[in-house]
Symmetry: C2
Subunit: 335 residues, 2 copies
Amino acid sequence: MSTVEGLGERKIIEIIWENLDKTSDMPVPFGDDVSAVKLESAKLAVLKTDMLVGCTDIPPRMSYWQAARKAIVMNVSDFAAKGVKPQGIIVSLGIPRSLSKKAVEQIGKGLNAGAREYGTFVLGGDTNEARDLIISIAVFGLAKKENLVLRSGAVIGDIVATTGLFGLASAGLKILTEGLGASQKIGRKLLDAALMPKARLREGLVLAKTGAVTASIDSSDGLAWSLHEISRASNVGFMIDAPPIALETYEFAKMHNIDPFELSFYGGEEYELVVTVDPKHWRNVQAKVSHQGGRLIKIGQVMGDKKILLKERGQVAEIEARGYEHLGYDGGRDS
Amino acid sequence: MSTVEGLGERKIIEIIWENLDKTSDMPVPFGDDVSAVKLESAKLAVLKTDMLVGCTDIPPRMSYWQAARKAIVMNVSDFAAKGVKPQGIIVSLGIPRSLSKKAVEQIGKGLNAGAREYGTFVLGGDTNEARDLIISIAVFGLAKKENLVLRSGAVIGDIVATTGLFGLASAGLKILTEGLGASQKIGRKLLDAALMPKARLREGLVLAKTGAVTASIDSSDGLAWSLHEISRASNVGFMIDAPPIALETYEFAKMHNIDPFELSFYGGEEYELVVTVDPKHWRNVQAKVSHQGGRLIKIGQVMGDKKILLKERGQVAEIEARGYEHLGYDGGRDS
């Protein structure tokens, strides 16, 4: 009997999807970052659920407070990618018997901190017994259909951009899980990226409002994967000529003889947004994000050829369709 | 260090609640069956999330299809209690590596069957790796605030009623988990109650529309617990003089020398609604439920004295505040 081991979570989602009846009125396609229900008022109710699982998603040294906050960030990040403000959060917990009462308090405080950080509240939830600690979050929000930025709108000639530089969280996770060292100077920043990820909600809301963003996704499964997802949904390719790699990533990579490109493109657990922007409005869009205290970094261009290429020092190489995936062949970070 | 073992899930929810900031605009109090967000249109977005956990919530002989369907039923049942029609479901799965591909298909089909049974669709979701099978569901719906039946409105003199008789699911679970026998005649019915629970959505929607239901809750933690919850939220007591025990419960209890009252009041995993109804409208309310193919069974009355009493053959006994609870002192059924 074949098990899901090696199948990968995306294939699992596909199997589920194949077995579902489809409603004719689905404003957001299955598999995009959020789901939605059309309301009478021509607005959409936007919904997202994702869970944090203790044994796979909580690295060593991450506190319960940080884990609970991260569970919220993971979900808010998808709202950010679609440009939707979260208006309420509900939580379903799976609690192991061995968990301390203190840990439950920390989880409560972490959930609250995550919700408040993004301007919303935890409104309710349920608790169950489980072997793993499970923090399952559902987020609710409202959007106008025309403002919701799907994965599927990228057009040839669009600029590809990210809201930040990559590789920090991956490097931080290597410090936490593999015990790799880092100088004090960059160590704090790398650990922070892994333990205290930030959802780019402010950026996402501004970006959606400009009307010039044609596709958007977060990068929780890795930058390479995000590019491949937009490519698949929009039926386009990318030429990446300015890979968004943080200086600290280069430094950490050099210290440990790791490929900085590997850390930045295939790492996952990054929460920068990856967007495509109509070039006519690029300067305006970039200025608006800056005005909100964020940044938008041009990393390449959308092309018709459905490949995802990296151009560096005149050399062109293909960016692979892999990234962080639970239950995948490589078993992800947690195998 | 004190662990949550023996704390009980309600205490855990309380600890979480104590650590949350509260929004001033909370149309449904924390701890009621669902949560809600006020919309501009004076409507409420109603939300519910709860998870089914493999190791504690799936009895032997329950198929993956049934488990996935039950995960939906558990959540829809809370919508039923509040009189809200589900308008969309999202799912977050925790999948163990050892799970078969076939099982994933069955889960997909079971989720779909549950959603379709209650007139809605599964719109999206996410998958993760976990040690247990976790099926975490979030349901969305809309309601007018004045139609939402909370736990807190029961008034002295109201009639207490249920949408069905009790003890069948508890007996069925005893067959499944303890290997107790039953005659063929009743065995099928008891197993059905445990494996194919039904949410009383039709009844709940009709009840809410009458405007004469003052409080409502489902009975997934047991009839006794439901009564205590309404008692606590409404600050009233109950005199139960017609305990809603199924004939098959009596028969099974007699066969195994078990207390039928224990099976019916403290069992849990029943999905009948427990409601209080304005006596002036009782006949009308009952007729409307009948008209929908359901039934409403009078089991007692609301009283001012904040006790929950059972009157049987002239004897009066107190109904205890216990029921099915994860992580509780008695460890629930799954300890």
